[in-house]
Structure formats: structure tokens, C-alpha cells
Amino acid sequence: MERKEWPLWEVFIRSRNGLDHKHCGSVHAPDPRMALQVARDVYTRRMEGVSIWVVKASDIVASDPDAKPELFDPAEDKIYRHPTFYKLPDEVNHM
């Protein structure tokens, strides 16, 4: 038999205003409206959120874990980008 599943949606929830939406899981649903409904039932049964985003999983473009070194390692030796790199006289060090 041909397998025809409902598409997969990634669910992002803002737990309260002032905070970012955060990825919390995924659901299967036939369309955006039902994806929101299912996400609400599955991920916000205890006031976990005030806003939900659903995004079709196939529409997300992700970086490749194998590309981690070339993407992120170059930042490792740029410690001068951090405020702690600069040693200032004690009197003004809390600047």
C-alpha cells in the first residue's frame, strides 16, 4: 500500500511576551491550521506558551554538522571580541 503521511511541522513556542519563540518539538498535520491546533494540544497543555509558530520541516534549511569546524572554529581564536579580553586598572574595571 502506498504510504501517505501527513507532513511534518516543527513547533516553536513563545512562553511569554518578551521572550523568543523556542523550538519545542514537531507534529504531523495535513495543513497549517491543523498543525497549529495539534501543536496547541500537544505542547501547551499547561500554559507553556502565549504564541505558537509552526514551520513545515521540509522548508527549514539547516547547517551541516560536518561543516562545524569551518563554520564555527574561526571564532574560537578571536578572543578579543569578548569584553573579558581587556584588562583595565582595578579602579575602572567594572566599566
Binding site: 504510504r3 511534518l8 534549511v61 539547516a62 547547517s63
Partner: protein, 333 residues
């Protein structure tokens, strides 16, 4: 949870060769990450056996949550008050939710939801054998919350630190909700124990029937356990016997406060070990239930099959409707 459907840009040439292959170098790197306490995420390289072990464990766990709705669902229409009915409905809905978190986590390993369901419905995949016991009276619902969910929590807390990120994250969510399950069960039993002699007898009867199956939930003794890699890979962090002992130690006091007797004449404090000793477990019963001869194995799977088959037209219709709407929007645009 990130998913297998994420679209990763293809690289033309990978100097390390295709990551799908098994290689001692990749495996050494992987083991080093496990040893360093790092989490493994869906698109990271992992040994095929790690992936398969996780699919088996996470999906069995998901199936257990879904089948676990059946014995409790049996009592929704018969709950003794509106308050208890509302609580039980919330609990059963949670079990469904837990199943869904876990299926989503399993799917990140490259298996589809339908494949997972089909494995359950065909009997290829197992679920926790505890759900093959019947719920005979209302006290069973309280005892399931107290003992069965209590045992589940013992099992599940270490999984919150499991090496596979999506599983660990799902388990954190599950554990938060399980605590409500255990407490509401104990609360329902406390209420019954304050009632008539007949109600107290019902509680004791339910405890007598559920105690041994509950401590079997931790699985075979460590010496008989076959999944050694699970410990090496940080999937299982505490052994079956250690978890079982922890559960027994924690439960004795709870039984005392409740005013029930745990049905084990050999259960007594061992000052030398600093733990409770308990009697021999009937492993023949355990294996016979696992292999399909429990009181409710046939009913449980028949109920799941019926739900799946009866829902087929809904799944198809919803998808057809979505496709039609999408086609219309395309024409209008």
C-alpha cells in the same frame, strides 16, 4: 526536535567520505564525544547500532504511552466524581502527548511515523508489559498512578540525561508531567482509604495485583540483561536492578502512610545494605506477558488496530482537503 526531513545543502565533495559508512575513526570520535558528556544530535554521525538501539527504545517507549491510555480510558466514563473524571481525562491526554513527543524524537533518527505504528500493530514492536493487565476496579486507577507511574518516573529521570538530544529533551517534558500522574494517583487512594472498609479492601486488592508487575517494569536482572551497549553509549545510565531497588526503597514508606501492605512476605529492611530486601520475582510470568500471553495483550492490539483503521478515512480526507485548498490557492495566485 530536529527532524530527518531537514534539508541539508549537499556538498560536492566530502574529503571524509560519506558519513553513512561505518568507520573506526568516526566511531572513536563518537565515543570520545560520549565520554566527554556531549549530546548527540540528529544529523551527527552515529554508529548504526546506536541509531537502531534508540529507534527500538524510543518507539517502544512511545508505544507504551499510547497503549497505556487504554487501561485508564476504561474508567473515564466510570470515574466516581466530576473532579476525578477531569483529572483522569487530563492524565490520559498527557499519555497521548507523551507518545507524540516520543514518536517525534524517534523520527529524527530517520524512521517514519507510519513505520513505527505498523511495527506496533503487527506485533513486531513491543510495549511495556504492564499494560497487558486489566483495570478491575476504581482503585486500580489510583494504584496505576502511584506504582506504575512511580516506577516509570524512576526509569525516566535518568533518561533526561541520555546522550541523544531529542530523546533527552522529550523526557524532560515527560517527567515534569509524570509527577502529576503519580501524585493524583496517591491522592485518589488516600481518599479511598478514608472511606468505608469496602473501599479500603478495594485499594489493598489493587495493590496486591499491581505490586509485582510494577517492580517487573524495570526489566530483567542486570546479569540477564542483553543491552550492554546502552550503558556504554549513555542511553541507559542506571541499571535495572539499581532502579528497582530505588523504587522499592521509596515505596515502602508511601505504603505505610497510605495504610496498605505490599504483598511480599520477604520485604524487610536490611541495615547492612542500607536497602530493603525483597522476594524473588516471577520471571516466568514476566516473559509470558511479554511474549503475548498476558490477560489483555490481544485486546490492547485489537483496540489500537481498530482506532488506526477507523481513522484511515479521516487521515485521507484531511490530506485530500489540504491538497485541494493548496491547488486552489495556486490557481488564484
Amino acid at each position: 526536535m530536529y527532524t530527518q526531513a531537514l534539508d541539508i545543502p549537499q556538498k560536492d565533495a566530502d574529503e571524509r567520505g560519506p558519513r553513512a559508512v561505518e568507520s573506526p575513526a568516526y566511531e572513536a570520535e563518537f565515543n570520545a564525544r560520549i565520554d566527554a558528556g556531549e549530546f548527540i544530535e540528529p544529523k551527527d554521525w552515529m554508529p548504526e547500532k546506536y541509531r537502531k538501539t534508540l529507534i527500538r527504545q524510543i518507539s517502544q517507549h512511545a508505544h507504551s504511552e499510547i497503549v497505556g491510555m487504554l487501561p485508564e480510558g476504561n474508567w473515564i466514563t466510570r470515574a466516581p466524581s466530576l473532579k476525578r473524571k477531569a483529572i483522569l481525562l487530563a492524565k490520559v491526554q498527557d499519555e497521548g502527548g507523551h507518545g507524540l513527543y516520543l514518536y517525534a524524537a524517534a523520527e529524527t533518527l530517520g524512521v517514519s511515523r507510519d513505520e513505527l505504528y505498523e511495527a506496533l500493530l503487527s506485533g513486531k514492536a513491543k510495549y511495556s508489559s504492564i499494560f497487558n493487565y486489566p483495570t478491575l476496579n476504581w482503585a486500580d486507577i489510583g494504584v496505576i498512578g502511584w506504582l506504575v507511574d512511580g516506577a516509570a518516573i524512576m526509569n525516566q529521570i535518568p533518561l533526561c540525561k541520555c546522550s541523544y538530544g531529542p530523546y533527552a529533551r522529550a523526557m524532560i517534558r515527560v517527567c515534569k508531567e509524570e509527577s502529576f500522574h503519580q501524585r493524583q494517583g496517591y491522592d485518589a487512594l488516600l481518599q479511598m482509604m478514608k472511606g468505608t472498609a469496602g473501599q479500603r479492601e478495594m485499594v489493598q486488592d489493587a495493590v496486591n495485583r499491581w505490586w509485582w508487575p510494577s517492580i517487573m517494569m524495570f526489566g530483567p536482572h542486570d546479569k540477564d540483561s542483553i543491552h550492554v551497549e546502552s550503558a556504554r553509549w549513555g542511553i541507559k545510565r542506571i541499571s535495572n536492578d539499581d532502579l528497582r531497588q530505588k523504587f522499592v526503597d521509596a515505596t515502602v514508606k508511601q505504603a505505610e502512610v497510605l495504610g496498605v501492605t505490599l504483598p511480599d512476605p520477604d520485604l524487610k529492611w536490611n541495615a547492612e545494605r542500607g536497602h530493603y530486601d525483597f522476594g524473588a520475582i516471577d520471571w516466568d510470568e514476566f516473559w509470558s506477558v511479554v511474549k503475548g500471553d498476558g490477560q489483555c495483550n490481544v485486546d490492547r492490539i485489537a483496540a489500537r488496530r481498530k482506532a488506526w483503521d477507523d481513522g484511515a478515512w479521516v487521515r485521507e480526507a484531511a490530506l485530500a482537503f489540504a491538497e485541494k485548498q493548496a491547488a486552489r490557492e495556486k490557481v488564484a495566485a
